[in-house]
């Protein structure tokens, strides 16, 4: 670039003006701290699943949505389900239009379900739409869906997660993964896509023709920042969810910020046993460790007191399927030591580590992902608490990919792991990796099967309770803690964020519910 010296001086002098221009922009904009790496495609198989889905939720609508209490209409104004939970009927409301002005019809809905089933690369709901047997559209506004088996979770699994695509855009697209031309972002949502700078931000513009009303902000920016607390203070973002209770506390004394202490997260941190490897193939040893651990101390020291001890049955206490009367463990080191003695580890060596009669020492490696300070602290606390009962742990930090590999191939003793989705029974038993890698229990599978195929709520509730009881008693892993969801936002911007019960869509544990950007009755645009 060849810039004359005079022009360069002029530009340098204009730097403070750039600052003023930025201030003018900020009047029209709302900036969210959000994970942005790529263009906001519905078909982004490797982009981080939940955050990417939240981004596209601003551009595309689903049939139903959730407010702070539960499911509410969106594209569908009404719906009904047959008693056998296999036939769902949705009535589309009047007025929803694509960003190019064309009306959203039942044909678009049917097309989306067929297209997602044919191209199963949408990270969400593609698996679920393949359970559909038939989709019929008797008129422009009615959609009949018949499923292969009873689908009591259809609202969460499909109607609330499958983002409806415009048929006139996607009809001829053979490879949706690589389709990233501007029409790929044309939806019916509250915002239109204006620009994405990869790794940096996605800029969205208000859709003033939105059928539920014009959004409260002219532009919405989803911005990647590595330090959310500093970005809030520096005015680079207007709202951010924070991982650290300590960081959130620093904002609570400032009038210009609102700190929201949300519910305890669906994200659970858990200690996973390699149940195929001795001595963790012995349930007594696993239970002994459960009795030795002090989860309250973990909450106090690793989460600054802002969390809860997780349920032994893995499901979150806010889940509609949560079973409250499960066994509770620890902290009871005496009981843990008694169980270890019964399991054949009655002697202690000179270094205090328990030894079996055959000379096997209770000394193991604990794998831990190096993704957060809290995880590091938890690993150290587990090591210290188990040392009291004569178990030695060596902590080994690894990144996520290698950890997944080591756990899947069974090359580990113990692993400190974590995941979301604990409001769904699926997470407890749906896959060989869950509730714990390498763990298999036919009784658990049978209970889960009953849960997924029954249309009777009482049978489902009882089956969900059996799933949790088996996990709590058999202890293939120990759910440790759920941290609190924390949010900080600028008060003067006029947007009040709220937590969505059950998580967005199928359970994305994020704050950014688009309904917060719609005017409430009597509210004016800033």
């Amino acid at each position: 670039m060849n810039i004359p010296r005079r022009k360069l001086l002029h530009l340098l002098a204009a730097l403070p003006c750039g600052l003023r221009a930025a201030s003018a922009d900020s009047e029209r904009r709302y900036i969210l701290q959000h994970f942005v790496r790529d263009l906001p495609s519905v078909f982004a198989p490797i982009s981080h699943a939940g955050p990417n889905w939240v981004t596209t939720s601003f551009l595309f609508d689903t049939l139903v949505w959730k407010n702070r209490d539960g499911v509410v209409p969106l594209l569908a104004s009404a719906w009904e389900v047959s008693p056998d939970k296999r036939r769902w009927t949705f009535r589309l409301g009047n007025g929803a239009r694509w960003h190019d002005g064309k009306p959203v019809t039942s044909r678009d809905v049917a097309f989306t379900f067929h297209y997602m089933a044919e191209h199963p690369v949408a990270i969400w709901s593609s698996e679920a739409v393949r359970t559909l047997e038939a989709v019929e559209t008797p008129d422009e506004r009615t959609v009949h869906v018949r499923t292969k088996a009873p689908s009591p979770d259809f609202l969460d699994a499909v109607a609330g997660t499958a983002q409806i695509l415009p048929q006139h855009v996607w009809r001829g697209i053979q490879d949706p993964v690589k389709y990233l031309d501007p029409p790929a972002f044309l939806g019916s949502g509250l915002f239109r896509h204006l620009r994405t700078s990869r790794g940096e931000y996605t800029l969205l513009g208000a859709n003033h023709d939105y059928f539920l009303g014009s959004p409260l902000v002219e532009q919405l920016v989803l911005k990647s920042v590595n330090n959310a607390a500093l970005a809030l203070r520096g005015g680079d973002v207007d709202a951010a969810s924070l991982d650290s209770p300590l960081a959130a506390k620093q904002f609570s004394s400032e009038a210009r910020f609102t700190v929201v202490r949300g519910p305890f997260s669906y994200y659970v941190t858990k200690l996973v046993f390699n149940v195929k490897r001795s001595p963790f193939d012995n349930r007594m040893v696993r239970q002994a460790i459960a009795w030795a651990l002090n989860k309250q101390e973990m909450v106090r020291l690793a989460l600054e007191g802002d969390g809860i001890a997780a349920s032994a049955g893995l499901l979150h206490m806010d889940s509609p399927w949560f079973a409250p009367d499960l066994p509770r463990y620890g902290p009871d080191p005496a009981r843990a030591q008694d169980l270890l003695s019964k399991a054949g580890y009655s002697r202690r060596g000179a270094d205090g580590i328990r030894v079996s009669d055959s000379g096997k020492r209770l000394s193991f490696t604990l794998l831990q992902t190096s993704s957060s300070i809290e995880l590091g602290r938890l690993a150290e606390l587990i090591r210290d608490q188990l040392a009291v009962v004569g178990i030695q742990l060596m902590i080994q930090a690894v990144s996520v990919g290698p950890m997944e590999h080591l756990m899947e191939t069974g090359e580990f003793d113990l692993a400190l792991d974590g995941h979301g989705g604990t409001n769904n029974v699926q997470i407890a038993a749906s896959h060989t990796d869950y509730p714990a890698q390498l763990y298999h229990n036919p009784a658990l599978d049978a209970a889960y099967q009953r849960f997924t195929t029954s249309a009777d709520d009482a049978v489902r509730r009882e089956s969900a309770a059996v799933v949790q009881r088996i996990i709590a008693e058999d202890v293939p892993m120990i759910p440790l803690v759920n941290a609190r969801e924390l949010l900080v936002y600028r008060r003067d911007k006029g947007i009040e964020w709220f937590w969505t019960k059950g998580g967005l869509g199928g359970g994305v544990p994020q704050w950014w519910n688009k309904l917060a950007l719609l005017p409430r009755p009597g509210q004016r645009k800033k």
């Binding site: 900036i31 790529d38 990869r198 800029l203």
Partner: protein, 324 residues
């Protein structure tokens, strides 16, 4: 001519070896993109990948081929100047890498400008006044600065100038805009990362300059110039400075490499979307083709810097030879 050819051939051979190493080293890391997809789904509350989905994704990304088949097809693609498709971004790797590399090179160039602007004159003055209070004090200051990790300098700059004084933005590479970003906004976003990098790198420039200058000022021809009655300024400008250039050039590639490393820290602190941030994304998502592309381009860039410095030195030597 033969010396030029030898240097170029050595660089090309090195590049080939690095490319081969990159291919295998990345695959030695346990895990893969399918684990990452599955993990990302579960962390968000969705079901993990089923076996059928795993096979489908493996086929889609060519991960079902043997390693030797993948190496052959990668070699074939490189012959045609194609670095393949990034699995994460679903765009040609070359397009993604060039987009991010452009920002990093801008940051490195600006950082080096600051580093040379500060380190070079200070190094010269320090050498010229060797043993003085100024020299000793500066040595201590530079030693402290050199010992401070670059991310600490960057974080301090971020907290003071962006978070507290609001003079500069906290994150990003340019203003958020629908159209192309203005030059002014690019400068504003570049200023703090470049200054942090520059301050940290300036210590290296300072030491290089000072040490080289001390050696030069001890040479016989400098003593002869002084004996002829030339003033210290004249000795410095007419005789010492021209000799400094090759000494610094010989170390330019080291400085460049160190600046690229420093830029990675600055990118992380300032959320500056450069090649360091891209490497992190590629690694976290096991985007093999993108990782290979990044390593290849970075290696080529570093080798180009080495090559440029080597060729320059050869040219200088020849000219010296002609003079003598």
């Amino acid at each position: 001519m033969k010396r030029y050819a030898t240097v170029v051939a050595r660089c090309l051979l090195l590049l080939a070896v690095i490319t081969l190493l990159n291919f295998f080293l990345i695959r030695l890391v346990p895990g893969g993109p399918l684990e990452v997809i599955s993990r990302a789904r579960v962390e968000s509350g969705a079901a993990p990948l089923s076996d059928a989905e795993r096979s489908m994704f493996a086929r889609y990304y060519g991960l079902d081929q043997s390693l030797s088949q993948q190496l052959l097809s990668y070699g074939g693609m490189l012959m045609h100047g194609d670095m393949g498709q990034s699995t994460f971004f679903r765009r040609p790797t070359a397009e993604i890498v060039s987009q991010y590399l452009e920002r990093t090179l801008l940051l490195v160039a600006a950082g080096l400008l600051v580093a040379v602007g500060a380190g070079l004159p200070l190094g010269i003055i320090s050498a010229a006044r060797r043993g003085s209070l100024f020299d000793s004090s500066l040595l201590v200051v530079e030693m402290i600065l050199h010992a401070v990790p670059p991310f600490l300098i960057a974080t301090a700059a971020l907290i003071v100038f962006a978070v507290t004084l609001h003079w500069f933005p906290v994150a990003g590479s340019a203003a958020i805009t629908v159209g192309e970003s203005s030059f002014t906004s690019v400068l504003r976003h570049l200023a703090l990362p470049a200054l942090s990098l520059g301050v940290w790198e300036s210590t290296t420039v300072y030491y290089l300059t000072r040490n080289a200058m001390v050696d030069i000022l001890g040479e016989d021809y400098i003593r002869a110039a002084r004996a002829k009655g030339l003033g210290e300024h004249e000795v410095l400008i007419r005789h010492a400075l021209p000799a400094l250039a090759p000494a610094l050039l010989a170390r330019f590639s080291v400085l460049f490499g160190s600046a690229i490393g420093g830029a990675f820290f600055a990118e992380q602190v300032f959320s500056y979307p450069g090649i360091g941030q891209l490497s992190l994304t590629a690694f976290q998502n096991y985007d093999y083709l993108l990782l290979r592309g990044i390593f290849l381009v970075l290696s080529a860039t570093m080798l180009a810097a080495y090559l440029a410095a080597d060729l320059w030195l050869i040219r200088f030597d020849i000219r010296s030879g002609e003079r003598t």
